[in-house]
């Protein structure tokens, strides 16, 4: 019986858009020898390049690492760090760790919903503000803590938060 020729190594094609960032992502994947177990590192690199992970981008990663698309999507949605939708220009991360929770993190989230009209994981319709939650940012001593555009603020009250975010929320009273 004739034996079938060895299956040709499937070579993923470059991204048709010609976007330079895809080239950079390929370089990042090559650094990991396109190993499937480097998925998380590759997703980190992808998010750094693109800001968020579009479905098209996840499929590009799946093809290059030879992983099932569902696995890539599963990993990307498991970690809060990865965003599948574009983030707003400003971000407000409310810590909901035990200490912050006890000190009233839910009050801050309620205030955010009142002021900006969005809940955790959501972005305002004008793409100005994303509200996120984190499970303990390690700043329990200054609970309740929020992170505004990368800057940690401690002992935050609803009023202080509204004052800090003045200008981020157009319709807000703050």
């Amino acid at each position: 019986m004739p034996t079938a020729p060895p299956a040709a190594e499937a070579r993923p094609v470059p991204h048709p858009s010609g976007d330079k960032r895809f080239k950079l992502l390929e370089v990042a994947m090559k650094k990991h020898q396109f190993r499937p177990d480097a998925l998380i590192e590759v997703l980190h690199a992808a998010q750094q390049l693109f800001g968020y992970l579009e479905l098209d981008l996840l499929l590009f990663v799946a093809r290059h690492l030879k992983l099932p698309p569902s696995r890539v999507y599963g990993v990307a949605t498991f970690y809060h760090f990865f965003a599948l939708k574009p983030r707003g220009r400003h971000t407000c991360v409310v810590c909901t760790g035990t200490a912050c929770y006890v000190k009233g993190a839910d009050g801050l989230l309620a205030a955010l919903r009142r002021e900006a009209g969005v809940g955790p994981g959501e972005t305002t319709p004008d793409d100005n503000l994303s509200v996120l939650t984190a499970r303990c940012i390690g700043a329990c001593g200054i609970a309740p803590a929020v992170v505004l555009d990368g800057t940690v603020k401690g002992h935050v009250t609803a009023d202080a938060l509204a004052a800090e975010m003045k200008g981020w929320v157009p319709g807000g009273t703050g």
């Binding site: 479905l55 996840l58 499929l59 099932p68 698309p69 569902s70 696995r71 890539v72 999507y73 599963g74 949605t77 498991f78």
Partner: protein
């Protein structure tokens, strides 16, 4: 392979050292309830229904993943375990929207059977009534996430038996959900071969065959077991 001797429910049994407590118990006619376990698929250890008391101080261990050990004293049916199993089942029922009366799998459902066997006839917890979707985009099957208990049997059957790995889990915690490809409608999945192994593996009515009405659907689970022995041991038990 070395053999070990252990006690299960006071009965002295011998097992191979690489066997799990569940395998040793079942080989000796001692039943342990399971939901996420399928013989021949990799162990998941997610449903916790197979918890047994093993080792010093009656420590709780999942029987489907813990290997047997020499001199082990295992208890599979104590008052504490019965209470825990009932609670686990109550949590499963409260977490989704399991309404047997309108379910295609009524009478052919492992969740229903497990609840009946554990004597769980009502809920002491509040239902959460989550809003979940139904995907009918596939031409032969449908998936009703309301009835999904996240056992990952479809994920493992698709990956380990069919090899397509169309299914996986997305999200985490209360937002967990089984997905096909990039969370696309099942009917648009590029990897799905429409083989139906996920449907055969599903313990509830979450993955169902189209065209079946209430209490009408049989999963054809025997076919899945046939395939597992055929592929794994090259034995075709027709």
């Amino acid at each position: 392979m070395t053999a070990v001797t252990l006690t299960i429910d006071g009965k002295l049994v011998t097992a191979r050292a690489d066997e799990t407590i569940l395998q040793a118990a079942r080989a000796n006619g001692i039943p342990i309830p399971t939901l996420c376990h399928v013989d021949g698929l990799s162990a998941h250890g997610g449903c916790r229904l197979c918890l047994v008391e093993a080792g010093p101080g009656g420590r709780l261990q999942p029987a489907c993943v813990i290997k047997v050990a020499e001199g082990q004293d295992v208890r599979t049916d104590t008052a504490k375990l019965r209470e825990y199993r009932k609670l686990i089942l109550e949590l499963l029922f409260a977490e989704g929207n399991h309404v047997c009366a309108v379910c295609v799998a009524n009478g052919n459902c492992e969740l229903q059977d497990a609840a009946a066997a554990a004597g769980m006839d009502h809920l002491t917890l509040d239902y959460t009534h989550p809003r979940r979707e139904v995907d009918l985009s596939h031409d032969r099957f449908g998936v009703d996430h309301n009835r999904c208990i996240l056992c990952t049997r479809c994920v493992r059957a698709c990956d380990e038996l069919e090899g397509a790995h169309t299914w996986d889990m997305s999200g985490r915690g209360a937002n967990s959900k089984v997905i096909t490809d990039l969370n696309q409608p099942w009917g648009e999945s590029a990897t799905c071969t429409s083989c139906g192994k996920c449907f055969m593996a599903c313990p509830t009515g979450a993955i169902f065959r189209k065209g079946a009405t209430v209490a009408e659907m049989d999963h054809g689970r025997a076919k899945l077991d046939f395939l597992i022995t055929a592929r794994g041991r090259k034995q075709w038990n027709v």
